[in-house]
Symmetry: C2
Subunit: 193 residues, 2 copies
DNA sequence: AGATAAGCGGATAGCTCATCCGCTTATCTG
DNA sequence: CAGATAAGCGGATGAGCTATCCGCTTATCT
């Protein structure tokens, strides 16, 4: 047996746990490991063995979405229009945050439970940084806005949308609208140019 | 005895509880009624009698600040410059949210534990609405931005600042910067004008 | 097929929350 | 001022949740 492989039943249970957690997240129910175990028809210890904390499970649930965003970020760099690339990337990010309830808490937390999450967030951040720098080189970004502001601002938009409330379609609409307002403020003001 | 008055010791304990809670909030410690009781040197039941839930206590702690903001909102309407009035008001709001840890959760919650909180939030919202409408009348507000967006956007800025982190002075600076970016996006775009 | 250890499950100990009830004390009345 | 009254106090306690441990099961390898 190779050192990293998982026993077949363990792998199956891992999937069940993540799928159950995914359902709970989609229903807006907070993850409680005991509860997840019960709903998945598994022993409590099985869940705790795979995921030490609810945060670790949540990060695992959020991972595929983070991967997709990071992948899009890479692709966006191929767009010759720097502004359009940045705008498209940020649009995807806020839409994802509004669509997937697992993302906001993961995005807003500085210290991750899983190393994998840190990796994903770093690759996402570096994509964002590259896109922002490229837009800046095109003179489209005010000097006091830096890459370190990107994640907070995206979290801020997502939070604003959540506070505003409404159904899913409303929230997507609100997210686009708030992002549009934000993007108006990204270029340098006349006095900064 | 008039029906609404409180016994002297009860009033004193109420003050102690709120003061203790204020300290905890300032230290960034989550309010737990049992814990508050112990720190205030009071019985647990005394705290539960005055405040049914941690939210009710938090709202009480936040109330003075909400009152001050509402009062400023009234005054701001006296400013002949509609845009400056709106900008000043929103600046106070985000600075308060960043300075007082009791505000963000209270502002972001739709259903209040205390009727008083609902009152205060309504008066604050109506001040904001009046200021926004006045700025709109001056042609300084894009048509798709309504009064219903004001509270969410302020919460969004506050959340973005919290995610960004830093010391208190840093956060104030970040808050002003994010608000400045947001305000750039408030006026109509050329195509909307 | 048998050996082995990885993995499983649920009982349970530890902790936090919120209520209840006998006692204390402020306030009112004569 | 003293007694009566009920408003208010405090901490013991039961209910509910979290997370760990350990004896049993089962997948995997030879």
């Amino acid at each position: 047996m190779t050192t990293t492989s998982l026993r077949k039943d363990a792998a199956r249970n891992w999937e069940r746990i993540v799928a159950t957690a995914r359902d709970l997240v989609d229903q807006g129910i907070a993850l409680q490991l005991n509860d997840v175990a019960h709903r998945a028809g598994l022993g409590v210890a099985t869940v705790y063995r795979h995921f030490a904390t609810p945060e670790a499970l949540l990060e695992t649930v959020a991972a595929p979405c983070l991967e997709a965003l990071a992948a899009h970020g890479e692709q966006a760099l191929a767009d010759p229009d720097a502004w359009r690339a940045l705008e498209g990337f940020l649009t995807r990010v806020v839409e994802a945050q509004v669509t997937d309830a697992a993302l906001p808490p993961v995005a807003a937390t500085a210290t991750d439970a899983l190393p994998r999450t840190t990796e994903l967030k770093e690759s996402l951040a570096s994509a964002g940084t590259a896109l922002l720098d490229r837009a800046r080189a095109a003179g489209a970004v005010r000097p006091d806005l830096t890459a370190a502001d990107l994640v907070p601002l995206m979290c801020g938009v997502a939070h604003a949308v959540a506070v505003r409330g409404g159904g899913h379609a409303d929230r997507i609409d609100t997210a686009r609208r708030y992002l549009a307002i934000l993007l108006e403020g990204v270029p340098p003001t006349p006095s900064q140019a």
